[in-house]
């Protein structure tokens, strides 16, 4: 399947058919998730209504890691397998991952102030998440700094794989260090510690965020393929005209 999609024209055809369905599924999941978040999920016995920030904060954190993992896999695809769409995937994933990381940090800060009494604390989880945002921004800057896409892809791939060291640090920071941030409560040995009345809306919101992210990623890849066609067509045309003149 991945080899079959290596042809950009074939990828454009398949993704063009898939995209409306994905966008519709994302809208539906987010609609249901928001309804559950606001009308069926109970207030927390300690945090009160403030717990509703969790339904944005946690999926955004998961998507931040998900898109970094996507970029790291694509970086391997670029460096090891030289898949023609791997760098396209990498480039399209960076701004989406950065946006979800930003949402995670801002919603976490707005949740932290009423619950912890502070918007920010330099603890391991918060700091490693901020480092993640800076890595995303660095990767986006590097894409812009090198004009030739294949050269940029190799440089970005190396930076992405070096930055991947931060992914397990983000995930396990709450276990490795004594942090203000609570430990994992969904993906943990022994099962989730959240009651199903809150867990189900959280999972539906996470599904909606994931579908939205994948829709945006596919759309971004399609746009990047078009951008490269726009970039190469005049060069090909000039070469053709030059050959005719000679």
């Amino acid at each position: 399947m991945i080899r079959e999609l290596a042809n950009p024209s074939r990828f454009m055809a398949y993704s063009g058919r898939l995209l409306p369905w994905l966008a519709g599924a994302a809208a539906l999941a987010l609609g249901v998730g928001l309804y559950m978040t606001w009308f069926t999920a109970p207030a927390d016995y300690q945090q009160g209504e403030t717990v509703r920030i969790m339904y944005l904060h946690v999926p955004a954190a998961w998507l931040s890691l998900f898109f970094y993992a996507t970029m790291a896999a694509s970086a391997l695809g670029t460096l090891v397998w030289r898949h023609p769409l791997a760098d396209v995937s990498q480039k399209a994933a960076a701004p989406i991952g950065a946006a979800f990381t930003f949402i995670c940090l801002v919603t976490g800060s707005l949740w932290g102030k009423p619950m912890w009494g502070t918007y920010w604390q330099w603890d391991a989880r918060l700091t490693s998440m901020l480092v993640m945002l800076l890595i995303y921004l660095g990767i986006m800057a590097l894409w812009r700094a090198i004009e030739e896409p294949s050269r940029a892809a190799r440089a970005v791939s190396i930076l992405t794989l070096v930055g991947a060291v931060n992914v397990p640090i983000v995930k396990f920071s709450v276990d490795w260090w004594n942090t203000l941030h609570q430990p994992a409560s969904v993906f943990r040995l022994g099962g989730p510690t959240i009651h199903s009345s809150m867990l189900i809306p959280l999972l539906v919101m996470a599904l909606g965020f994931t579908l939205l992210g994948v829709t945006l990623h596919l759309s971004g890849m399609r746009t990047e393929i078009l951008r490269r066609r726009v970039r190469t067509l005049p060069v090909l045309e000039a070469g053709r005209l030059g050959a005719q003149a000679a």
């Binding site: 024209s9 009160g48 209504e49 403030t50 509703r52 920030i53 944005l56 904060h57 955004a60 701004p95 989406i96 946006a99 930003f102 949402i103 801002v106 919603t107 707005l110 949740w111 102030k113 009423p114 939205l212 945006l216 759309s219 971004g220 399609r222 746009t223 078009l226 951008r227 066609r229 726009v230 190469t232 067509l233 005049p234 090909l236 045309e237 053709r240």
Partner: protein, 52 residues
């Protein structure tokens, strides 16, 4: 709602703005590239390279 309503509303508003920005950026960028490609093809560029 609660004494913390402004934090909740702020979190949802900022998330909505960022997500709307992502969707708008994706749409506008795609349209721009489509138009640029159509303009190039209208000038004749790419007909030979798109035969396959």
């Amino acid at each position: 709602m609660t004494t913390h309503a402004s934090f909740i509303i702020g979190a949802y508003s900022i998330t909505a703005l960022v997500v709307a920005g992502l969707i708008l950026r994706a749409y506008v960028d795609h349209r721009l590239q489509q138009r640029a490609l159509a303009a190039l093809e209208a000038r004749g560029a790419g007909r030979r390279s798109r035969r396959g």
